[in-house]
């Protein structure tokens, strides 16, 4: 699939999503529920000083990025010491080809896969399927989306958030499910279907929450236990990770892990936190006999070079999605990419270019809530603003806005023009007035007045009142 999830125009996509009442209600419910839980568990972390943990976690991640060459090298050497193999992939194609070729060379028929954003990014599932390998997504949400003809994920942590249980029942019904639309029953069906897959698959593929340089460990965090089963049973295992997904030590990982589950789902801890160090012990009945880590660049080194490098501190918790007032209304698919919400706004244009995603930076009211909740201390709203600056000043993305803002800049830095303009405003806006309010705006004002009134421009401005009063007083 890759980063982009459909070829529709931004506006069309947005319109479709704004009309999807179920999806929108689901976003609101998810945000409110997760936010409440998140605030609750963070208030109980130590003495509840989230800012201190946030700063610490950001420092840990920033330290790694400053020394990324060293830590990746150290990590790779330790993976090898643990009996594994490492492949450094410069782009999506190299990464997915490596894994696909590995599967073909080892005669793999079936892969069990755990949810991972980077495998979405490199389009791994389709590469494997095109090569004739049977792929089973095992995370419940991803399993649902796979059965729903690879419906794209709409949330980084709860990918199937846009589907309701009846839709899920219908999808399962096509695959032999005969029950009602009860979540417990639907989950039990998935359990029954997937249990045998884990123990009969030839290959397990999973992502990586944090790679630990000092030992070569892959950290995997989940509630379902599906990732653990992918690490437990198959003889051939592959972990795919973005190159920035690394911490120096286990002790550093502690801080990041302590914030990840709390930030992602508002849980003190996810049910399973697992560290995998290469191949299994000689003579063991299960676990990996052959282990590979694929470290993916795919545009990240360009980000490291840029003024946006702090976004590489991200731990994919989706706290920013759960906080964003825009994501709340439009849902994940409106961002037209696997990464959505504030993180998507920052990351997608960096990895996939501005051409298809030039609207994204404007999907932000600059409220700053994303930055406030980010457990990696990324100044997300500032990076979003920086995208707008690049679009405006370097890409000259909009002639209309360029000219308007030149005009505004001129007026606002020249008091006489400002005074003249504001004195004329009541007259200029008179045709738009209904019952003393602006109700039928044209051009850019239309976006406002379709659903909102706007107060009339003051005939007596504050400055007029102040001046006449001062004169009066002087008399």
């Amino acid at each position: 699939m890759g980063i982009k999830i459909n070829d529709q125009k931004f506006e069309k996509n947005l319109e479709k999503n704004l009309n999807d009442d179920f999806m929108r209600a689901a976003m609101v419910k998810a945000q409110d529920l997760i936010t409440k839980n998140r605030e609750n568990v963070l208030s109980q972390l130590g003495d509840g000083n989230f800012r201190e943990w946030q700063q610490l976690s950001g420092d840990i991640r920033a330290h790694v990025l400053e020394n990324l060459d060293f830590y990746l090298n150290q990590f790779a050497e330790n993976v090898v010491k643990n009996g594994g193999n490492v492949f450094f992939a410069k782009d999506a194609k190299e990464a997915s080809e490596y894994v696909t070729n590995l599967a073909l060379e080892r005669g793999v028929k079936k892969v069990v896969k755990a949810k991972s954003m980077v495998t979405e990014e490199i389009g791994l599932n389709h590469a494997l399927m095109d090569a004739g390998v049977d792929v089973k997504e095992t995370d419940l949400a991803e399993y649902i989306l796979q059965l729903d003809d690879w419906n794209p994920p709409s949330h980084m942590v709860v990918p199937s958030l846009h589907l309701n249980k009846t839709q899920i029942r219908d999808v399962f019904a096509e695959n032999g499910y005969t029950g009602e639309d009860l979540p417990e029953d639907l989950a039990a069906f998935a359990r029954a279907q997937l249990r045998n897959e884990f123990v009969t698959a030839d290959m397990g593929i999973y992502g990586c929450n944090f790679a630990i340089a000092e030992s070569g460990a892959i950290t995997l965090i989940s509630n379902e236990g599906n990732i653990d089963l992918c690490t437990a049973a198959p003889e051939l295992q592959v972990s795919v990770m973005g190159m920035e997904r690394i911490v120096a030590t286990y002790e550093d990982a502690d801080i990041c892990i302590s914030l990840l589950g709390r930030s992602a789902v508002g849980a003190k801890n996810t049910s399973y936190t697992t560290f995998v160090n290469g191949i299994t012990e000689e003579g063991a009945a299960d676990g990996a006999k052959e282990f590979h880590v694929v470290i993916v660049d795919n545009g990240r080194s360009e980000v490291l070079k840029s003024q946006f490098k702090e976004v590489l501190q991200c731990m994919r918790c989706a706290a920013c999605l759960n906080a964003c007032p825009v994501y709340r209304q439009v849902g994940g698919h409106s961002y037209n990419a696997i990464y959505s919400g504030p993180l998507g706004v920052v990351l997608t244009p960096l990895l996939a270019g501005y051409d298809d995603f030039k609207e994204l930076p404007y999907m932000c009211s600059l409220c700053g809530e994303c930055t406030e909740v980010c457990p990696s201390n990324i100044p997300l709203h500032k990076l979003i603003h920086e995208h707008k600056r690049v679009l405006a000043e370097e890409k000259k993305a909009s002639a209309f806005w360029g000219a308007s803002m030149s005009g505004a800049g001129m007026v606002l830095s020249r008091p006489w023009m400002y005074k003249l303009g504001t004195s004329m405003a009541p007259m200029m806006t008179k045709p738009l007035m209904v019952d003393g309010k602006i109700k039928k705006g044209v051009s850019v004002l239309k976006g406002w007045t379709d659903k909102r009134d706007m107060p009339a421009m003051e005939k007596v401005r504050f400055r007029d009142w102040y001046e006449s009063r001062s004169k009066g007083e002087k008399k």
Partner: protein, 236 residues
């Protein structure tokens, strides 16, 4: 079985060094971060106090899971009775247990007489037994008070799939294994790693398998065990 291969390292790493504007350093001094809030949690608690906190947090998890998780604090003399009770709580069925001498030492031979003992030499059979087990029994290697988590540090005789396939799990938590939080667990792994010991898998587990993927309704036992019973033993 391919081992020890690293591909494309030089070009990849040197590109990063270029971006960072220097050669790759031979050593990096890990910074001392000014704040360490993680060390303040349950600081100075005795083992008995930590056991209380573990139990308390397990009760929180119990409430959060609609009773799928439970925990008791007992003395070793009552262990056999409690294990027997827990292994019948959801009706009798096949049991799978580690190959661990401590079960015998703690007087559990009788209780576990019908259990299948993980035997690596038997290969595939172990996995099939785990897949069909109603109960799994284990002993926590390291226990986390803050989240009521138990830990399995992989080695022969324990199995990997055995931790995730049985329907119900019974975990014996020796009080002496309890530490305040993940921090101390990570310190231990750090110390082991410094000595060159990197267990193939270390699993921190604090609950039943769960998912909220269907309309955010929490459901239990999506893949792994549905129920988890802790038996905290104060004199072990």
């Amino acid at each position: 079985m391919l081992k020890g291969q690293i591909l494309n390292r030089e070009s990849f790493i040197s590109n990063l060094s270029n971006i960072l504007g220097r050669d790759m350093p031979k050593e990096v001094v890990h910074p001392e971060f000014s704040s360490k809030p993680q060390l303040e949690i349950y600081k100075g608690y005795t083992q008995a106090q930590l056991a209380e906190e573990f139990h308390k947090n397990a009760q929180v998890n119990k409430a959060g899971s609609g009773g799928k998780i439970d925990s008791v604090i007992i003395e070793k003399k009552d262990l056999a009775k409690l294990v027997a009770e827990k292994l019948a709580a959801q009706g009798t069925g096949p049991i799978i247990a580690w190959n661990d001498k401590r079960f015998a030492e703690w007087g559990l031979n009788d209780v576990l007489k019908d259990a299948y003992v993980w035997t690596d030499e038997k290969g595939r059979e172990n996995i099939d037994k785990a897949l069909n087990a109603s109960y799994g029994v284990c002993i926590s290697d390291l226990s986390i008070a803050e989240t009521a988590s138990y830990t399995v540090i992989d080695k022969l005789g324990k199995g990997r799939s055995s931790n995730f396939l049985p329907l119900n799990y019974v975990c014996i938590v020796p009080q002496s294994t309890i530490v305040p939080r993940l921090t101390q667990g990570m310190q231990k792994l750090h110390e082991m790693s410094k000595k060159g010991i990197n267990p193939a898998a270390v699993n921190f587990i604090c609950g039943s398998s769960s998912s909220s993927d269907i309309e955010l309704n929490k459901v239990w036992g999506v893949h792994g065990p549905i129920r988890l019973s802790y038996i905290i033993v104060s004199d072990l």
